[in-house]
């Protein structure tokens, strides 16, 4: 396990398109991973592109669900339903590849 600076706050955005089983699954997977690994030092924002289609281009979203780690830099993107915990942790730089 890497030791990210305790001061670092993770700014996360989850892009979904409607309340589909896949997007709900991704959200609950993400919440569990965050609670287990980033408790108290993350902010999560969920953006439904069906409600806000204009927001898709800003973060270059193509696939849904897409999780964007906006902070810390650099920006990371994890696409898919986040069902593979190990891959998500690797994607967030919380675990070595």
């Amino acid at each position: 396990m890497l030791e990210p600076s305790e001061a670092e706050t993770f700014l996360l955005r989850l892009y979904v398109a409607g309340e589909t089983p896949r997007s709900l699954g991704a959200l609950s997977n993400l919440k569990m991973i965050c609670e287990d690994n980033l408790r108290g030092r993350y902010q999560l924002e969920v953006i439904d592109l069906l409600q806000n289609p204009g927001l898709a281009s800003g973060d270059q979203i193509l696939a849904v669900p897409t999780l964007v780690r906006r902070l810390p830099h650099p920006i990371k993107k994890i696409i898919g339903d986040l069902s593979n915990r190990e891959r998500v942790l690797v994607g967030l730089d919380l675990r070595a590849r």
Binding site: L49, P53, S57, P65, K77, R87
Partner: protein, 496 residues
């Protein structure tokens, strides 16, 4: 499909959307299929992005059909400068809500894939852009870039199939570009999904000169030209050269203009060539083609007409000197600004570039009379079919502009005269025959549309006072040749 059409026995041509690209709309007989996707594929630098952009910009500017560009390749500046090269201001079009652009970037390095996903985000972005301008046209350039950014090919293929279907359901007239692949039209086999129309672009180098070609590989439910057509990327963007584009809509002028040789005028029912017509002067080397052209242009300049002379063999200085020796001084007309030369080596660049520069020279100088001397030299710049296509296109253009054109041709040459000559209104044949050890020059009018013309072959000489045609009534050969001899003795090398 959902759109039932009553069968009246005659097949109903599907509705088409004009691209505004000259030539392409003729080849496709009206443009791309409305409300359906068309695949435009070709190698790097084959012009597919420019073709797609032209289709989009023309839609927005000329046909009142706003459009969306979703680009996966170039950045905004490159696209804007491509559009600027077509003479349009992309930011202004975006501002005016005629075009929406979405730049899609996929960085594999910053993406981790875990579990199931789809490309709904792409659909949402496209839908958003389409709504923002009320688009009727969509360009995806080049959607295959997604394969470099995302690793799950199965999902990608399924989603692309869904995307093309979706575009069709939305009634979008779409152009999807694809990179040419090994043994396939596109690297990822997009042609499998876009089955309505496929256009293939090719950029090949033949004897170190480049030619661009376009072919409509497929056009479901429509007739289309099946040949490979040379196309140009010029100052005005793309244009395709269909051999059959001679639209036959030229005004038929009744005005006559002198050939510059009064006895030749006599042979052409006494009045000379038809204004705005195309005249072929053919003959082997040294038969006087250039001299006849010089007479024609001198007469035109004397009437105050602007004349443009394309030279593919001689330099202007050489030509002026040689023509002075046969009594035609063109220098004053050059100085008066009525006569301009455009000299070029045929091998200097490809045919399409020649055509573009010739078009440009005509547009700049605005001549009413032009000479292309010799047109056969252009053969070295391309293959026979290409040259014929180019000539067809050029003549077409000159006729549209009402410009009288004289083309000289070295025969027997490699250009099949029967093919070129069918485009010509008047055909003058010059010859230089060996008669009893003396060369005898002859001139005949093989054809001349729209007028009664003489069918006689007349003898002529080139003197230092110009070209002299003998009257058939005059004592024939012996005297004619004698006359020529005399001229030769008085210092005219060209006569014998």
């Amino acid at each position: 499909m959902s759109n039932p059409v009553a069968h009246s026995g005659r097949a109903v041509e599907l509705s088409k959307s004009l691209t505004g690209i000259r030539g392409l709309d003729e080849v496709t007989r009206g443009g791309l299929p409305t409300g359906r996707p068309t695949l435009v594929c070709g190698g790097a630098g084959s012009g597919k992005t420019l073709l797609a952009l032209t289709f989009l910009v023309n839609g927005a500017v000329r046909f009142d059909e706003p459009g969306v560009l979703m680009t996966f390749e170039e950045n905004g500046d490159e696209i804007a400068s491509d559009v600027a090269s077509l003479g349009f201001d992309l930011p202004a079009l975006i501002e005016a809500k005629k075009i929406a652009v979405d730049y899609v970037r996929v960085e594999r390095s910053e993406i981790e894939e875990t579990g199931e996903y789809d490309l709904e985000g792409l659909f949402i972005r496209l839908d958003y852009a389409i709504r923002s301008v009320g688009a009727k046209r969509v360009v995806l350039d080049t959607v295959e870039a997604l394969f470099a950014g995302l690793s799950n090919v199965t999902i990608l293929r399924a989603e692309l199939r869904r995307l093309f279907r979706w575009l069709k359901d939305r009634g979008m007239t779409a152009v999807i570009t694809g990179e040419r692949g090994e043994g396939l039209l596109t690297r990822q086999g997009l042609e499998e999904y876009v089955s309505d129309a496929v256009i293939l672009l090719d950029h090949r180098v033949h004897d170190q000169t480049s030619t661009r070609r376009l072919r409509v590989v497929k056009y479901r439910g429509s007739h289309h030209g099946t040949n490979e057509y040379p196309f140009l990327i010029g100052i005005d963007g793309i244009s395709v050269l269909p051999v059959s584009s001679l639209a036959l809509q030229h005004d038929a002028s009744e005005v006559r203009i002198s050939s510059g040789v009064s006895r030749l005028d006599d042979m052409l029912s006494g009045k000379g060539y038809l204004c705005g017509s195309t005249i072929l002067v053919s003959g082997t080397a040294g038969t006087g083609k250039t001299s006849l052209s010089a007479h024609f242009l001198k007469a035109a300049c004397s009437r105050g007409e602007r004349c443009l002379w394309f030279l593919f063999e001689e330099s202007p200085q050489q030509l002026l000197r040689n023509m002075r020796s046969v009594g035609v001084d063109l220098e004053p007309w050059v100085e008066a600004g009525l006569l301009q030369f455009h000299a070029d080596r045929p091998s200097r660049y490809g045919l399409e570039t020649h055509l573009v520069t010739m078009h440009q020279a005509v547009a700049d100088f605005k001549p009413t009379v032009t000479v292309i001397d010799p047109v056969t030299n252009l053969l070295t710049a391309g293959t026979l079919t290409d040259v014929q296509a180019m000539l067809t296109r050029l003549i077409d253009h000159l006729k549209m502009e009402g410009i009288t054109a004289m083309l000289t041709s070295l025969t027997p040459g490699t250009v099949d005269d029967s093919t070129i000559s069918s485009l010509m209104d008047t055909w003058i044949v010059l010859a230089n025959e060996n008669v009893g050890g003396v060369y005898r020059r002859t001139m005949g009018v093989l054809k001349s549309r729209g007028m009664a013309h003489s069918n006689e072959i007349r003898t002529f000489v080139l003197t230092d006072r110009g070209l002299q045609v003998f009257d058939p009534a005059e004592p024939p050969m012996a005297k004619a040749i004698g006359g020529a001899r005399l001229e030769g003795q008085s210092g005219n090398a060209g006569a014998i």
